[in-house]
């Protein structure tokens, strides 16, 4: 009897794109549970609180979607650069500077009619974020300065620059705290309360606003750009094999610059959500780690918009549910969830091949049995 051998390429797509990531995620969450246990709290209670906090009531769910909005932007930002094999870990700084862009445009052009001032502010956020990513991109491409170090340095520099501006230049002089004046109420982006009022649902307050739709649109934008345009093809070619790309007449320099600028621009859009949508002013340190979380979101979503959406939602749940946990459990601070992010990056990024061979060969064996039966 001759055995027909099925090789790895016959393993169904959902094994490597759904099963393997879920196994990795589960591992990361199990280790996280261990950390929560070490910190002296009950991990199962924490999970219950996370689920209640993020889904249990409508305001909590609105918060979950608000965080999701931010993570879509920063996740897409990391993913776009990653397709060109660039590690843009400067999302934090680019978002910070993007916030400056949206604020400057909005406050100076607030006399314009509503949709136009919004559009221009969004452009401002994108351009400022892109500009902040341009320098590391240029240095990477022309001088070979590793983009990881330069983008990290640009995070520190952005933070210093913004504190300087907030303290000495654009501070609201009626306040002691370093933040700007509020934007005029007429140009605030409509929030979820406004819509829910129309639908007959009463909620007190939620930071969810129209930017959520911009985030969804960005998912389509990135998908189209990276997979459906000539430029996206060139960029992926540079990322995949620079030498081959040069041979095919594709300029690595041009593509590195474009990829990083789009990446920085997407990170900058976080400023739209935070400033035009929620706080309506620049506060010191408003990117609050969203830029770094974007790395975890992108890696978990396998750098594809279809993956980034659920990954961003998952992190929205972790953030919102996490704040419920920190409220109820005195031993857990929000930093525990930073550690959880690190674990998710570790297991779904660096250790993604930990169980892949075993899982794939399990399916290969099963297919073999079916074929030979």
């Amino acid at each position: 009897m001759s055995n027909i051998v099925v090789d790895k390429s016959k393993v169904p797509w959902w094994v490597s794109n759904v099963i393997v990531p879920l196994v990795n995620l589960t591992l990361a969450l199990l280790v996280s549970g261990l950390f929560i246990f070490i910190a002296g709290e009950n991990p199962i209670e924490a999970v219950k609180l996370i689920i209640y906090g993020s889904f249990g009531y409508i305001q909590g769910f609105a918060y979950t979607l608000y965080y999701t909005t931010n993570f879509i932007f920063t996740g897409l930002a990391f993913a776009v650069a990653f397709h060109c094999r660039l590690f843009n870990i400067g999302g934090e700084g680019q978002a910070y500077i993007g916030g400056l862009g949206v604020f400057l445009v909005a406050i100076n052009l607030s006399f314009l009619p509503i949709p136009i001032v919004w559009l221009l502010s969004i452009c401002g956020a994108f351009l400022f974020g892109a500009a902040w990513a341009y320098i590391p991109a240029y240095l990477q491409s022309k001088r070979g300065s590793h983009v990881v170090i330069t983008t990290i340095m640009f995070n520190f520099i952005a933070s210093s620059l913004m504190i300087f501006l907030l303290v000495d230049v654009i501070r609201d002089t009626n306040q002691m705290a370093p933040h700007t004046v509020k934007l005029p109420e007429a140009i605030w982006l409509p929030s979820f309360e406004a819509f829910s009022g129309i639908l007959g649902i009463k909620i007190r307050y939620s930071p969810l606003n129209l930017t959520f739709l911009l985030a969804i649109a960005s998912l389509f934008f990135v998908w189209f750009l990276v997979w459906k345009t000539k430029w996206g093809y060139e960029m992926r070619a540079v990322g995949h094999n620079t030498q081959a790309a040069i041979y095919a007449g594709i300029s690595p320099h041009k593509n590195i610059i474009i990829a990083m600028c789009i990446s920085g621009g997407l990170a900058g859009l976080l400023g739209v959500n935070e400033i035009l949508g929620v706080s309506h002013k620049i506060q010191a340190g408003f990117p609050a780690g969203y830029g770094f979380t974007g790395i975890a979101v992108a890696l978990m979503g396998r750098n594809h918009p279809i993956g980034i959406l659920p990954a961003a939602f998952l992190f929205g749940i972790l953030y919102q549910g996490g704040s419920e946990v920190t409220f109820e459990m005195p031993n857990i601070t929000r930093y525990m969830f930073v550690a959880v992010q690190g674990l998710i990056i570790l297991f779904s990024g660096a250790l993604e091949n930990l169980f892949r061979p075993q899982i794939e060969s399990f399916f290969v064996r099963r297919l073999n049995k079916e074929v030979n039966a």
Binding site: F35, I38, A39, G40, E41, F87, I89, I135, L139, R143, G144, S145, H146, V148, I149, T150, I152, M153, F154, F156, I157, S160, L161, I163, F164, V167, D168, F292, I295, A296, L299, N331, I332, T333, Y335, M336, F337, V338, A339, V340, Q341, G342, L343, I345, L346, G349, A350, L351, E352, N353, L354
Partner: protein
Amino acid sequence: MEFLSDIASLINSTLRISTPLVFAAMAGIFAERSGVIDFSLEGKMLMAAFVAAVGSYYLGNPWLGLLLAIIVCVCLSMLHGFASVTHKGDQVVSCVAINILIIGLTTALAAAWFGQAGLTPTLNEEQRFLEIHLPFADSVRDIPIIGTLYSDILSGHYVFVYLAYLSVPIVFWIVFKTSFGLRLRAVGENPSAVDTAGINVFAMRYKALAVNGVLIAFAGAHLSTAVNANFFREMSAGRGYLALAAMIFGKWHPKTALIACLLFGFTDALQIRLQGVELPAIGEIPVQLIQALPYILTVVLLAGFVGKAIAPNAIGQPYIKER
């Protein structure tokens, strides 16, 4: 005379501030010479600072805290190796994961165990390292030049400062004068040739990472049990990245990396002195700009003066043994 003592204290603080950078750069040389990228110096330094502070608080002896920090950092290096050498995962992703994990974990555990926002309890004199005063430091102080050099610059540092500068020639000797060093460099340049010669590439990379873990632990312990008497949130403040930049600027070579570390240390020492000082013609420089100086310098050094840095040939690539 006052000018001279100003210079002396500037050099003194340069030596002290450069110390963690020197340890980290030497640690980086081991990892990267073997072909493994190590951006996780930052996270490991932070973890070492946390473990050393907590360890000496509970055990009452800073040396035991240091020992614990070494053990934990070697474990973290092994984790990096497990992900990027054994499982051929992306090395940069592995480093970013470790850094974020450590930022979260140290602060979260400090809060859970000690109830303060990311702080560990202050160590008393027995639980931390003290400044070492070299013999006769007080009696020779008044001798011009030599006295200043000996008493104000060389004497009165923490043990880590002396160890750091001692480590540079030792690292140089190991990397360039021993057969271990030859193999280490070969593994980073051409792993398949090394494999052909019958040397285990994976084992070499793990050994390099183990040394890396030991060295970086000293940097962290210096921060939390010597210059400071406790751990606080994100206290490594980018030093791991600065050290890596110094190492690249020094072209993966201990001596030139040391010079770059001293340059960073000097900039940092200078920025502390410049805060609030009125400069002629410029006036007072905003404090935020001064604080950003080391970071700006890093970017400038990486961009401007290095030319294209030539990394070890096989860096960042997992070694795949052909079957």
